[in-house]
């Protein structure tokens, strides 16, 4: 379902003396349907960079990134958009939404985008929000004012609304209490059971051991010292 071969990534910082930073080289990996693979490695090893490349958010310098038959390294924007709508879900660490849109609609949106009717999409959104313990009185409010943990749970609800055949999870259990962590892990297990191919980053080792079938240490794809990639990550975060 997710298939990478010989993928490499460098950042060229034109406005900082054209510094070229090699972050990843020659990454090859495969994730089958129903399988959950953890990306591991020290901070700065390139885990998030790799995940962003699989989502098409970062551009690969070379190699093939195939998800559900589409090569994200070569695909046109509209092909990537279709892939993200129908096939490839991504739960990032940060919630990014249009201000003013009610939480219920934020969560229902991925379903509306694949043509599910408004009522059905909202029903599913309500189920997920209830499951993730977001109080009902908040559903009609925009999540932009919510606490960090609440925003993360809204993000997870949104990410699990549509049954994507492939999913990328960036720290889905970070900053959650035990009860909510349990809900998220059971959502991941359910997604695996229906055949989703999942790649995740988990600093929570117990969570990783429970849901992941394999681990891939990203630092073996990191050329030389990896200290530079963290700087680039910061550079890009602040730029975005």
């Amino acid at each position: 379902m997710i298939d990478l071969s010989n993928v490499s990534k460098t950042f060229t910082l034109h406005n900082q003396g054209s510094a070229v930073i090699e972050v990843l080289s020659d990454v090859s990996l495969t994730v089958a349907p129903g399988e959950c693979v953890a990306l591991t490695g020290a901070s700065g090893a390139g885990k998030s960079t790799l995940m962003r490349m699989i989502y098409g958010n970062y551009r690969a310098q070379s190699g093939v990134i195939r998800v559900g038959g589409v090569d994200l390294a070569q695909a046109e924007p509209r092909e990537i958009i279709r892939l993200r709508r129908e096939v490839l879900g991504y739960v990032s660490q940060f919630l990014r939404v249009v201000p003013r849109v009610p939480t219920l609609d934020v969560v229902a949106e991925p379903l509306r985008a694949v043509g599910v009717g408004s009522d059905e999409a909202r029903t599913r959104a309500k189920e997920l929000l209830a499951q993730l313990n977001i109080p009902e009185r908040l559903w009609s409010l925009s999540p932009t004012t919510f606490s960090g943990g609440e925003q993360q749970r809204v993000n997870i609800a949104r990410g699990f609304a549509h049954p994507y055949p492939a999913m990328l999870l960036d720290e889905p259990t970070a900053s959650l209490d035990a009860a909510n962590r349990e809900v998220v892990l059971s959502l991941i297990e359910a997604a695996k059971a229906r055949g989703a191919a999942i790649i995740g980053i988990f600093h929570d080792e117990a969570a990783r051991a429970r849901v992941c079938d394999r681990e891939i240490d990203v630092s073996r794809f990191t050329p030389g010292l990896s200290s530079g990639s963290e700087a680039v990550e910061r550079y890009n975060e602040s730029a975005a």
Partner: protein, 256 residues
């Protein structure tokens, strides 16, 4: 799939000065494309060349018309182009007063475009105008008021209603949220997103506001000195910019 709009080699010079040079891209149905760049980068020139407001010195703008398939709108006759401008195309100006008739009521502004495509029944036109005012969140009670009595945000929403009432397939927008305060912008963005999704519109949005394109546009074109320096998926161009100018543009945004 046939592109809705296929732009090839659009070039416009102002004397020795380049407005925009050799711009080419295809826009597919349902796609929203952003064009960003600083003032003077040629983005508005390009938009006006595409929308038929300026005649390019070279290049073609092929639109997939309903009746006759792909046609070059640069070489089509003026009446044909005007008809396109009233039916399948819409243009949202930065300043609402450029896109509205300020001496005519709100309902009249919306109804006028319907009448231009042949609607004659007064009751139907008025009903449709009221319906559209509500869709853009203007109280139906204001239907007989002139836009001069509206706030800037309301005028902009009225302009959008006037443009979308005839069910266009392609909307050109020139800084649609420019000059509005932030809370009004957010409301307008939310409205535009909903309309684009529900009506399956394609749109080309010129702006210098990167936050606006991130929320509205599927893909992004970056212009500098009349040339396209980078284009691609919006979040990819913003998060992993490849060109020196795009990197500068993205890193220059102030954090809130």
């Amino acid at each position: 799939m046939t592109p809705l709009l296929s732009v090839q080699g659009i070039t416009k010079r102002y004397g020795a000065h380049i407005g925009c040079a050799d711009v080419s891209f295809d826009l597919y149905p349902g796609e929203v494309m952003g064009i960003v760049g600083e003032s003077g980068s040629g983005k508005s020139t390009l938009l006006n060349c595409m929308a038929g407001h300026l005649r390019p010195d070279a290049g073609s703008v092929v639109f997939d018309t309903r009746g006759h398939g792909p046609r070059d709108t640069v070489t089509m006759s003026e009446p044909e182009r005007r008809m396109l401008g009233r039916t399948d195309w819409a243009f949202v100006h930065q300043h609402a007063r450029d896109g509205l008739r300020m001496g005519v009521s709100a309902g009249g502004n919306v109804g006028e475009r319907l009448m231009a495509v042949g609607a004659r029944h007064y009751g139907d036109i008025r009903d449709k105008a009221v319906d559209w005012l509500e869709r853009v969140e203007i109280d139906a009670g204001r239907v007989d008021d002139r836009p001069t009595t509206f706030s800037g945000g309301m005028q902009q929403r009225l302009q959008i209603a006037r443009n979308l009432v005839t069910g266009p397939r392609l909307v050109f927008m020139d800084e649609p949220t420019g000059g509005l305060d932030v809370s009004v912008q957010a409301r307008l963005l939310d409205l535009l997103r909903g309309l684009v999704r529900d009506m399956g519109l394609s749109a080309i949005i010129v702006t210098h506001d990167l936050a606006v394109v991130r929320l509205l546009a599927d893909r992004l074109m970056v212009m500098k000195d009349g040339l396209v320096v980078e284009n691609g998926l919006t979040d990819q161009v913003l998060d992993d910019p490849q060109h020196a100018y795009t990197q500068l543009l993205v890193s220059s945004v102030l954090q809130v």
